[in-house]
């Protein structure tokens, strides 16, 4: 069955519009209200740099851990009906 032209155009335009919005919306938000506009601050010494690298690694580790722990939290929440035996 061939859909009529108007439906086809509306569907196509909506699909393209939605995809483009989804793709660029975060970028537009960050451009309008930047939470990290830069610049990356350079360090004055090697020691400062090592400390910052360590801090970034810890930050990323924490972020990754949060991400990985999400399914566990969900699972934990979904098992609320099991009686607490303690």
């Amino acid at each position: 069955m061939i859909p009529n032209l108007a439906t086809l155009i509306v569907t196509l335009v909506s699909a393209v519009g939605l995809s483009v919005s989804l793709l660029f919306l975060p970028a537009l938000i960050e451009l309008r209200k930047p939470k990290d506009a830069g610049p990356r601050s350079i360090c004055d010494s090697f020691l400062q740099m090592r400390l910052r690298t360590l801090k970034t690694d810890l930050f990323n580790l924490e972020d990754d851990w949060k991400f990985e722990s999400q399914p566990i939290d969900k699972l934990e929440n979904s098992l609320f009906f099991i009686p607490n035996l303690e």
């Binding site: 793709l23 660029f24 975060p26 970028a27 938000i29 960050e30 451009l31 930047p34 939470k35 990290d36 506009a37 830069g38 610049p39 990356r40 601050s41 350079i42 360090c43 004055d44 010494s45 090697f46 740099m49 090592r50 690298t53 801090k55 970034t56 690694d57 930050f59 990323n60 972020d63």
Partner: protein, 409 residues
């Protein structure tokens, strides 16, 4: 093109795996402090030159081992006067004034003039709009402990990143290039690239190579390959950071990238054969070297793949076409062409700037903008090869000094 795609992923994974590992160059109790000459070519840089010279005065490297040469390339503004003021105050700063008769012939010519006056064992180069960390000299210089190292390159960070959308996108490109691409090359023992600034050479090596080649627009890429072909290595030091003032409008972006693209293509024609037949490079380095030389041809090939891939997605033959052509080519068009974006994403992650990753989709615009730039550069190089006329016009990037307000320390 698939090789480039694979390369991007290998580089990204390599940097992710190596992050946090510290490279031990020499024992902690050993001091390595050779004499160092710093070359600063400057043509009409009155808005930024004082910033750099002031910063140099606060460098932690022993001043008695430092020689700073400002090459005032026949500037018509106050650049020369500002540099002279610093020369009068600090004995290790010198100014080399070029007039119109011998100046304004491009950066390579100015660098050669400055190099002829150098006395340091190591020669470092900084552009006038740059602003380095205080211990950059020792961080860069310690790589020369290894006698095999002929040159070193530090990391470039965009200073005026918050200024507008162009500077923010350039900053993303720099992060991909310096936080991931260059570091991966160094980790994997491939061809680390000298970027023309925030880096330097062992003076004896540069002397043997007869300095900078003035006939090319990408004199830095040319030197990179001449160093490797001479049997030396280039090291990349991610811990040697330096701010640059990035181009802040599309017209300047076009001019700068056109110069890079054309210069790179010139180097491709000049060095490809030598890279293939040299005994000073192993196979891994040869492959990476050839890919590096051909990198500015990629936007042109990407255009071709998009031209072939997109119609196949919409009008491809339902059976054989989809299986044999449409899927791989369209997949490459949509995923492969944008493989560098993964590098940028990982670079931002390693810098702890995950929020800035939101801007990555906007890189698609610079990707498409680079296609006509490289096409024009390609046809210009081709035309000059056919006609035998090699006309290189050095279009200098103008620096407005807009980065000054972002300097905090």
């Amino acid at each position: 093109m698939i090789a480039y795609l694979v390369r991007h992923y290998i580089f990204t994974i390599s940097v992710l795996r190596s992050t946090g590992k510290k490279r031990q160059l020499y024992p902690a109790d050993m001091t390595f402090e050779p004499t160092v000459s710093i070359l600063i070519p400057a043509f009409n840089e009155e808005k930024v030159i004082a910033r750099l010279l002031q910063r140099i005065t606060s460098f932690s490297y022993p001043k008695e081992k430092l020689q700073v040469i400002v090459i005032n390339d026949a500037s018509s503004d106050q650049t020369g006067n500002i540099a002279e003021e610093y020369k009068n105050k600090y004995p290790y700063i010198d100014v080399l004034n070029r007039d119109k008769s011998n100046g304004r012939r491009g950066k390579a010519s100015a660098m050669n003039h400055g190099f002829s006056k150098c006395s340091g064992e190591i020669v470092l180069c900084f552009d006038a709009d740059y602003y380095p960390q205080k211990d950059i000299v020792e961080t860069l210089v310690k790589e020369f402990v290894d006698p095999q190292v002929g040159a070193v390159q530090g990391r470039v960070v965009v200073l005026n990143e918050p200024q507008n959308i162009v500077t923010r996108l350039v900053a993303l490109e720099r992060i991909g290039g310096y936080r991931v691409d260059q570091e991966a090359r160094d980790n994997l023992g491939l061809i680390a690239q000298f970027g023309g600034t925030v880096g330097g050479f062992r003076r004896s090596v540069l002397k043997n190579l007869c300095g900078w080649d003035t006939s090319l627009l990408a004199e830095d890429t040319d030197l990179t390959f001449r160093v490797y072909l001479a049997g030396y290595k280039i090291r990349y030091s991610v811990n040697a950071e330096c701010y640059e003032e990035a181009v802040d409008n599309w017209r300047s972006y076009w001019r700068q990238r056109y110069r890079w693209a054309k210069g790179h293509m010139q180097c491709c024609f000049k060095h490809s054969w030598s890279v293939l037949k040299t005994k000073n490079l192993n196979n891994k380095e040869k492959i990476d070297g050839l890919m590096l030389l051909g990198v500015y041809f990629m936007p042109i090939l990407a255009l071709l793949s998009l031209l072939v891939g997109l119609p196949l997605i919409f009008f491809g033959s339902p059976i054989i076409g989809i299986l044999l052509f449409a899927i791989p080519i369209s997949l490459y068009s949509f995923v492969g062409n944008f493989a560098p974006f993964f590098e940028v994403g990982v670079g931002l992650y390693l810098d702890g700037r995950t929020r800035t990753q939101w801007l990555i989709p906007l890189l698609i615009f610079t990707f498409f903008f680079n296609i006509p730039i490289c096409l024009k550069a390609f046809f210009d190089v081709l035309f000059s090869k056919i006609s035998g006329r090699n006309k290189n016009v050095w279009v200098k990037t103008t620096h407005s000094g807009n980065g000054n307000c972002y300097i905090q320390n």
